[in-house]
Protein backbone atom coordinates (compact mmCIF):
# COMPACT_ATOMS: atom_id res chain seq x y z
CA UNK A 1 0.00 0.00 0.00
CA UNK A 2 1.23 3.48 -0.71
CA UNK A 3 1.41 6.25 1.79
CA UNK A 4 2.30 8.86 -0.81
CA UNK A 5 -1.32 9.35 -1.90
CA UNK A 6 -2.49 9.57 1.70
CA UNK A 7 0.11 12.21 2.59
CA UNK A 8 -0.88 14.27 -0.48
CA UNK A 9 -4.62 13.94 0.18
CA UNK A 10 -4.18 14.85 3.86
CA UNK A 11 -2.19 18.00 2.93
CA UNK A 12 -4.89 18.96 0.43
CA UNK A 13 -7.76 18.32 2.83
CA UNK A 14 -6.07 20.20 5.70
CA UNK A 15 -5.62 23.13 3.31
CA UNK A 16 -9.30 23.01 2.23
CA UNK A 17 -10.55 22.71 5.82
CA UNK A 18 -8.41 25.63 7.00
CA UNK A 19 -9.56 27.71 4.03
CA UNK A 20 -13.21 26.96 4.81
CA UNK A 21 -13.12 27.27 8.58
CA UNK A 22 -10.58 30.03 9.32
CA UNK A 23 -13.35 32.69 9.69
CA UNK A 24 -15.07 30.44 12.20
CA UNK A 25 -11.83 29.89 14.14
CA UNK A 26 -11.23 33.65 14.21
CA UNK A 27 -14.79 34.24 15.43
CA UNK A 28 -14.50 31.63 18.18
CA UNK A 29 -11.15 33.08 19.27
CA UNK A 30 -12.66 36.57 19.39
CA UNK A 31 -15.45 35.27 21.60
CA UNK A 32 -13.13 33.28 23.85
CA UNK A 33 -10.67 36.14 24.32
CA UNK A 34 -13.49 38.59 25.00
CA UNK A 35 -12.99 40.71 21.88
CA UNK A 36 -16.66 40.19 21.04
CA UNK A 37 -18.75 40.44 24.17
CA UNK A 38 -22.24 41.10 25.48
CA UNK A 39 -23.30 43.50 28.18
CA UNK A 40 -26.52 43.34 30.11
CA UNK A 41 -28.15 46.38 31.69
CA UNK A 42 -31.44 46.78 33.46
CA UNK A 43 -32.72 50.34 33.43
CA UNK A 44 -36.18 51.15 34.78
CA UNK A 45 -38.71 49.78 32.35
CA UNK A 46 -36.32 48.28 29.81
CA UNK A 47 -33.60 45.72 29.49
CA UNK A 48 -30.57 46.62 27.41
CA UNK A 49 -28.46 44.02 25.66
CA UNK A 50 -25.29 45.58 24.28
CA UNK A 51 -23.15 43.72 21.80
CA UNK A 52 -19.60 45.02 21.44
CA UNK A 53 -17.13 44.01 18.73
CA UNK A 54 -13.43 44.70 19.22
CA UNK A 55 -12.18 41.67 17.34
CA UNK A 56 -11.06 40.94 13.80
CA UNK A 57 -14.08 38.98 12.59
CA UNK A 58 -17.29 40.62 11.48
CA UNK A 59 -20.87 39.48 11.28
CA UNK A 60 -23.39 40.48 8.64
CA UNK A 61 -27.09 39.93 7.87
CA UNK A 62 -27.84 39.44 11.53
CA UNK A 63 -31.31 38.34 12.56
CA UNK A 64 -31.75 38.34 16.31
CA UNK A 65 -34.43 37.21 18.68
CA UNK A 66 -33.96 38.46 22.22
CA UNK A 67 -36.11 37.28 25.10
CA UNK A 68 -36.14 38.27 28.74
CA UNK A 69 -38.02 36.62 31.54
CA UNK A 70 -38.85 38.36 34.80
CA UNK A 71 -39.48 36.91 38.23
CA UNK A 72 -43.27 36.78 37.57
CA UNK A 73 -42.62 34.57 34.53
CA UNK A 74 -43.56 37.31 32.07
CA UNK A 75 -41.77 36.79 28.78
CA UNK A 76 -40.66 39.78 26.73
CA UNK A 77 -39.47 39.38 23.17
CA UNK A 78 -37.75 41.55 20.62
CA UNK A 79 -36.75 40.58 17.10
CA UNK A 80 -34.83 42.58 14.57
CA UNK A 81 -32.30 42.76 11.76
CA UNK A 82 -28.85 44.31 11.60
CA UNK A 83 -26.85 44.72 8.41
CA UNK A 84 -23.32 44.47 9.74
CA UNK A 85 -21.42 44.16 12.98
CA UNK A 86 -17.76 44.93 12.46
CA UNK A 87 -14.81 46.07 14.56
CA UNK A 88 -15.66 49.06 16.76
CA UNK A 89 -19.43 48.60 16.49
CA UNK A 90 -21.85 48.63 19.39
CA UNK A 91 -25.35 47.28 19.02
CA UNK A 92 -27.95 48.03 21.65
CA UNK A 93 -31.07 45.89 21.79
CA UNK A 94 -33.79 47.38 23.96
CA UNK A 95 -36.45 45.10 25.40
CA UNK A 96 -39.34 47.05 26.97
CA UNK A 97 -40.83 45.68 30.18
CA UNK A 98 -44.45 45.77 31.35
CA UNK A 99 -43.56 45.91 35.03
CA UNK A 100 -40.81 48.46 35.70
CA UNK A 101 -37.90 47.33 37.87
CA UNK A 102 -39.05 43.70 37.86
CA UNK A 103 -36.18 41.32 38.58
CA UNK A 104 -34.94 39.72 35.36
CA UNK A 105 -34.07 36.08 35.88
CA UNK A 106 -33.19 35.01 32.35
CA UNK A 107 -31.95 36.66 29.18
CA UNK A 108 -31.73 34.68 25.97
CA UNK A 109 -30.36 35.96 22.69
CA UNK A 110 -30.68 33.89 19.54
CA UNK A 111 -28.59 35.13 16.66
CA UNK A 112 -28.46 33.98 13.07
CA UNK A 113 -25.61 35.68 11.23
CA UNK A 114 -23.15 35.34 8.41
CA UNK A 115 -19.61 35.04 9.73
CA UNK A 116 -17.14 37.03 7.58
CA UNK A 117 -19.72 37.06 4.80
CA UNK A 118 -19.11 33.41 4.04
CA UNK A 119 -21.62 31.20 5.76
CA UNK A 120 -24.59 31.53 8.01
CA UNK A 121 -24.52 30.18 11.53
CA UNK A 122 -27.07 30.14 14.31
CA UNK A 123 -26.05 30.46 17.89
CA UNK A 124 -27.57 31.26 21.20
CA UNK A 125 -26.28 33.25 24.15
CA UNK A 126 -27.93 32.84 27.52
CA UNK A 127 -27.68 34.38 30.92
CA UNK A 128 -29.57 33.01 33.85
Amino acid sequence: MTLRHEVLISFLSVFIIFLLFTPLTLFLQDLAKGHIYFKFQHKGNEVLLILVNEGTSYLSDIIYNATAQDIYNNLYMKTGKIDSFKKGDNITIKIPLKIPNAVIIKVDLKISAKINGLYRFDFEVKRE
Partner: protein, 161 residues
Protein backbone atom coordinates in the same frame (compact mmCIF):
# COMPACT_ATOMS: atom_id res chain seq x y z
CA UNK B 1 24.00 -11.73 9.31
CA UNK B 2 22.49 -13.24 6.21
CA UNK B 3 20.83 -11.19 3.50
CA UNK B 4 17.49 -12.93 4.16
CA UNK B 5 17.46 -11.85 7.81
CA UNK B 6 18.27 -8.30 6.73
CA UNK B 7 15.37 -8.36 4.27
CA UNK B 8 12.98 -9.65 6.93
CA UNK B 9 14.17 -6.91 9.29
CA UNK B 10 13.70 -4.33 6.53
CA UNK B 11 10.17 -5.66 5.85
CA UNK B 12 9.26 -5.43 9.55
CA UNK B 13 10.76 -1.96 9.73
CA UNK B 14 8.78 -0.80 6.68
CA UNK B 15 5.57 -2.28 8.13
CA UNK B 16 6.08 -0.61 11.49
CA UNK B 17 7.06 2.81 10.11
CA UNK B 18 4.19 2.74 7.60
CA UNK B 19 1.68 1.88 10.34
CA UNK B 20 2.96 4.59 12.68
CA UNK B 21 3.01 7.22 9.93
CA UNK B 22 -0.51 6.36 8.81
CA UNK B 23 -1.75 6.49 12.43
CA UNK B 24 -0.15 9.90 12.92
CA UNK B 25 -1.79 11.18 9.70
CA UNK B 26 -5.21 9.84 10.76
CA UNK B 27 -4.88 11.23 14.27
CA UNK B 28 -3.65 14.64 13.13
CA UNK B 29 -6.25 15.10 10.42
CA UNK B 30 -9.32 13.51 11.95
CA UNK B 31 -8.96 14.09 15.68
CA UNK B 32 -6.54 16.94 16.39
CA UNK B 33 -7.51 19.23 13.47
CA UNK B 34 -11.28 19.47 14.26
CA UNK B 35 -10.48 19.89 17.96
CA UNK B 36 -8.15 22.81 17.16
CA UNK B 37 -10.72 24.44 14.83
CA UNK B 38 -13.55 24.12 17.34
CA UNK B 39 -11.35 25.03 20.34
CA UNK B 40 -12.05 21.78 22.13
CA UNK B 41 -9.54 20.03 24.42
CA UNK B 42 -7.23 17.58 22.66
CA UNK B 43 -6.99 14.23 24.38
CA UNK B 44 -4.98 11.21 23.32
CA UNK B 45 -6.90 8.14 24.39
CA UNK B 46 -6.68 4.45 23.67
CA UNK B 47 -8.16 5.18 20.23
CA UNK B 48 -4.59 5.98 19.17
CA UNK B 49 -3.54 2.44 20.08
CA UNK B 50 -6.58 0.95 18.30
CA UNK B 51 -5.81 2.86 15.11
CA UNK B 52 -2.10 1.96 15.40
CA UNK B 53 -2.90 -1.76 15.60
CA UNK B 54 -5.31 -1.59 12.63
CA UNK B 55 -2.75 0.36 10.57
CA UNK B 56 0.14 -1.99 11.34
CA UNK B 57 -2.07 -4.94 10.42
CA UNK B 58 -3.01 -3.16 7.18
CA UNK B 59 0.66 -2.58 6.36
CA UNK B 60 1.65 -6.15 7.19
CA UNK B 61 -1.12 -7.61 5.01
CA UNK B 62 -0.39 -5.30 2.10
CA UNK B 63 -0.62 -8.00 -0.56
CA UNK B 64 -4.11 -9.06 0.49
CA UNK B 65 -7.41 -7.28 -0.21
CA UNK B 66 -8.03 -7.01 3.56
CA UNK B 67 -5.41 -4.23 3.68
CA UNK B 68 -7.47 -1.43 2.00
CA UNK B 69 -10.51 -2.65 3.93
CA UNK B 70 -8.57 -2.26 7.19
CA UNK B 71 -7.38 1.22 6.18
CA UNK B 72 -10.97 2.25 5.38
CA UNK B 73 -12.02 0.81 8.73
CA UNK B 74 -9.33 2.86 10.52
CA UNK B 75 -10.53 6.06 8.83
CA UNK B 76 -14.21 5.37 9.53
CA UNK B 77 -13.47 4.38 13.12
CA UNK B 78 -11.43 7.49 13.89
CA UNK B 79 -14.03 9.67 12.12
CA UNK B 80 -16.80 8.21 14.28
CA UNK B 81 -14.71 8.67 17.44
CA UNK B 82 -14.00 12.27 16.47
CA UNK B 83 -17.64 13.00 15.56
CA UNK B 84 -18.79 11.43 18.82
CA UNK B 85 -16.31 13.52 20.82
CA UNK B 86 -17.57 16.64 19.05
CA UNK B 87 -21.18 15.57 19.66
CA UNK B 88 -21.74 15.40 15.86
CA UNK B 89 -21.13 19.14 15.59
CA UNK B 90 -23.64 20.34 18.18
CA UNK B 91 -21.39 22.05 20.66
CA UNK B 92 -21.95 24.11 23.75
CA UNK B 93 -19.35 26.45 25.14
CA UNK B 94 -19.28 28.02 28.56
CA UNK B 95 -17.10 31.07 28.75
CA UNK B 96 -16.99 33.77 31.33
CA UNK B 97 -16.32 37.06 29.59
CA UNK B 98 -16.20 40.06 31.94
CA UNK B 99 -19.28 39.67 34.11
CA UNK B 100 -21.26 37.90 31.45
CA UNK B 101 -21.46 34.16 31.50
CA UNK B 102 -21.83 33.02 27.93
CA UNK B 103 -23.53 29.70 27.43
CA UNK B 104 -23.05 29.33 23.78
CA UNK B 105 -24.66 26.76 21.49
CA UNK B 106 -23.26 26.17 18.09
CA UNK B 107 -24.26 23.90 15.25
CA UNK B 108 -21.02 22.83 13.61
CA UNK B 109 -22.31 19.82 11.70
CA UNK B 110 -20.94 21.30 8.39
CA UNK B 111 -17.40 20.68 9.68
CA UNK B 112 -18.22 17.03 10.36
CA UNK B 113 -19.62 16.64 6.82
CA UNK B 114 -16.60 18.41 5.30
CA UNK B 115 -14.26 16.14 7.26
CA UNK B 116 -16.09 13.11 5.95
CA UNK B 117 -16.19 14.34 2.37
CA UNK B 118 -12.61 15.60 2.13
CA UNK B 119 -10.78 12.99 4.19
CA UNK B 120 -12.62 9.73 4.84
CA UNK B 121 -14.03 9.18 1.33
CA UNK B 122 -10.88 10.20 -0.67
CA UNK B 123 -8.61 8.17 1.64
CA UNK B 124 -10.78 5.06 1.26
CA UNK B 125 -10.86 5.44 -2.52
CA UNK B 126 -7.09 6.01 -2.54
CA UNK B 127 -6.49 2.89 -0.42
CA UNK B 128 -8.47 0.66 -2.82
CA UNK B 129 -7.03 2.37 -5.90
CA UNK B 130 -3.42 1.94 -4.80
CA UNK B 131 -4.08 -1.67 -3.80
CA UNK B 132 -5.45 -2.57 -7.23
CA UNK B 133 -2.64 -0.63 -8.97
CA UNK B 134 -0.07 -2.55 -6.90
CA UNK B 135 -1.81 -5.82 -7.75
CA UNK B 136 -1.94 -4.98 -11.46
CA UNK B 137 1.70 -3.94 -11.71
CA UNK B 138 3.07 -6.45 -9.17
CA UNK B 139 2.16 -9.61 -11.07
CA UNK B 140 4.27 -8.86 -14.15
CA UNK B 141 6.94 -11.56 -14.68
CA UNK B 142 10.41 -10.16 -14.22
CA UNK B 143 13.84 -11.72 -14.44
CA UNK B 144 15.18 -12.75 -11.02
CA UNK B 145 17.19 -10.06 -9.23
CA UNK B 146 20.14 -10.81 -6.97
CA UNK B 147 19.25 -10.91 -3.27
CA UNK B 148 20.74 -7.82 -1.63
CA UNK B 149 20.33 -6.24 1.79
CA UNK B 150 17.93 -3.28 1.89
CA UNK B 151 19.40 0.16 2.42
CA UNK B 152 17.66 3.01 4.26
CA UNK B 153 16.94 4.56 0.84
CA UNK B 154 15.18 1.34 -0.22
CA UNK B 155 13.09 1.39 2.96
CA UNK B 156 12.03 5.04 2.49
CA UNK B 157 11.21 4.38 -1.18
CA UNK B 158 9.18 1.34 -0.17
CA UNK B 159 7.16 3.42 2.31
CA UNK B 160 6.53 6.25 -0.17
CA UNK B 161 6.13 3.98 -3.20
Amino acid sequence: MSKTTELIKAYLFVTLIEGILRTIIIYLVLIILPAVILMRPIVITKTFLDILIICIAASALRIYVISPILITLAYFYSFLVSANTLNFGYLSYNWEVYTFQISFFFDMSPLVFVLFATIVIPMSISAFYSYYITQATGNIRRPPVPLTGATIRDIILEILR
